[in-house]
Symmetry: C2
Amino acid sequence: MSEKFNVTAMPVGVVGLGLMGSSIVAALLISGHPVKAVAPVAADAENARERISNQLHKCVTAGLIHSSDEFEGNLTISRDYEVLKPCQVVIECVIEKRDIKSQVYKKITSVVDRDCIIGTNTSAIPISELQNHIDFPERFLGIHFAEPAFMTRFLEITCGKLTEETFANRIFKLAHEWGKEPTLLKKDIRGFITNRLMYAMYREIFYLIENGTATREDLDKAFRYDAGSWMTLMGIFRRMDYMGLKDFDAILKSIFPKLSNAASVPDIMQTLVQEGARGIHNDNGLYPYDPGEGRQWDEAFTRFNKDIHHLAANYSEENVKEQLKS
Amino acid sequence: MSEKFNVTAMPVGVVGLGLMGSSIVAALLISGHPVKAVAPVAADAENARERISNQLHKCVTAGLIHSSDEFEGNLTISRDYEVLKPCQVVIECVIEKRDIKSQVYKKITSVVDRDCIIGTNTSAIPISELQNHIDFPERFLGIHFAEPAFMTRFLEITCGKLTEETFANRIFKLAHEWGKEPTLLKKDIRGFITNRLMYAMYREIFYLIENGTATREDLDKAFRYDAGSWMTLMGIFRRMDYMGLKDFDAILKSIFPKLSNAASVPDIMQTLVQEGARGIHNDNGLYPYDPGEGRQWDEAFTRFNKDIHHLAANYSEENVKEQLKS
């Protein structure tokens, strides 16, 4: 792995140590930050160190770091918000509930300096809405990672109505030191960029399943071998340019009116969530899993992460343009 | 490249030698078929051999074949439909216009045997509709490739109302010999699988652009580094299982009603098509291109194709499951 992470002494805080929060902690640790992590949920406080340690081992496997020891030493886990005191950035990753987040913000702001940047990893609640629950709201913004946060280059920074751009720019710059390819969204739109695009596709794929058009396996296969064959290189607009644009107006005109406009949660998903399905995490999901199989998928993804991370690095916009010149 | 293509003496016909038709010819050639190609458009008849030759060279570069010579010798290009006579499969790839396709089908069926399978690469017109224009319609079906057809594993087989399943099964089996991961769609739905999913995303991305939410660059970047980091491995349902399902109902409920339901062609696309923009093919598209830059993107994609093809092969469903057992 050719990345160099700038080791910086700046402590960063994380509140909420579920799956995503732990993964963000690992991302910050391998970037060189001391991390002050607060676990509002008791079970998380107990399990988080082991979970993060496992994630750091995945980083070793992926060649992102040589050994996890020095990074583990940089981690403080506590149930007490006081540990956040020295932080200049705190990222909140608690459950997607407004009232809980609001309480968490009160506890954070009672401890940190007034210019400490406070970010939320939310993908469901508008930044401008959450901003109402915070003192000095101009330092509040969305810092949205993709799972697993320590491997993916994706990072979406979203300003709310009251966010001051200097704070967003500071995170944008910092994100590069985290090895990310950040996007900066100046307008606070529900679902931000990536979720809107993905959920547009989710809406359609549930429609296809519910209408018995194709099996889950076939839908996933079509997606992996069509979109999956160009997406890492191109993005959507570049793909259209590659395809030549010519027939697109005819196809758009014929397909748009036929697409699903569903506004409600699909039955399949509602049923699964009600029965406590957690996908690969408890071997109960949209696919059938043998006991322990979910864990195996997780390991396959760790290996895949490494490969696609390398591949994406080779085909960064910069690299492609560099080759254009030469 | 570890693929073995079964060399078969079975001649396959292709009608229509535009970009996609040529690419399909190359796919069939490297699978070992003698290909009988008909070019209804005079300019295509002239340019197709060179274009296909270039594509075979890309196959050499990608390590799919060692040399292009023997394959080029297997190619017949003609403007006369008579060359299709020995074919047991003919794939139509002409322009997306019903009347033109209907004329082409008349010419094909007047030459081939009555049990010759006739496939169309259409992505805009329902199979059941085109089927009305063909004698012995039970042997007619959709055979939908993804560009570049000689590299991607995607192949979508779609039955119309009158298609007999034995013919679809025959193509499904043959597709594996072409090195594809085919999907078989028994219900004829507008846009089939992959286009519906992609156009659902297109609809949303045009909405985001038209509302000034983000730049094209940022939208593509978010897509490449989020979806592009897992798509080749997982597909959509498996990704949801990986994410744990838990928060999905909350997010679906909040985002679905906000997504674009647009039914008309976006202005941006209409304008580009009207002014003759062909994307990377004439350096005029959704992105700005310096003269010759489009070609360079094409070359970058050829290199990328090779890498992602390898990667996808390493993480085929079979391989992952094999590793689960061991």
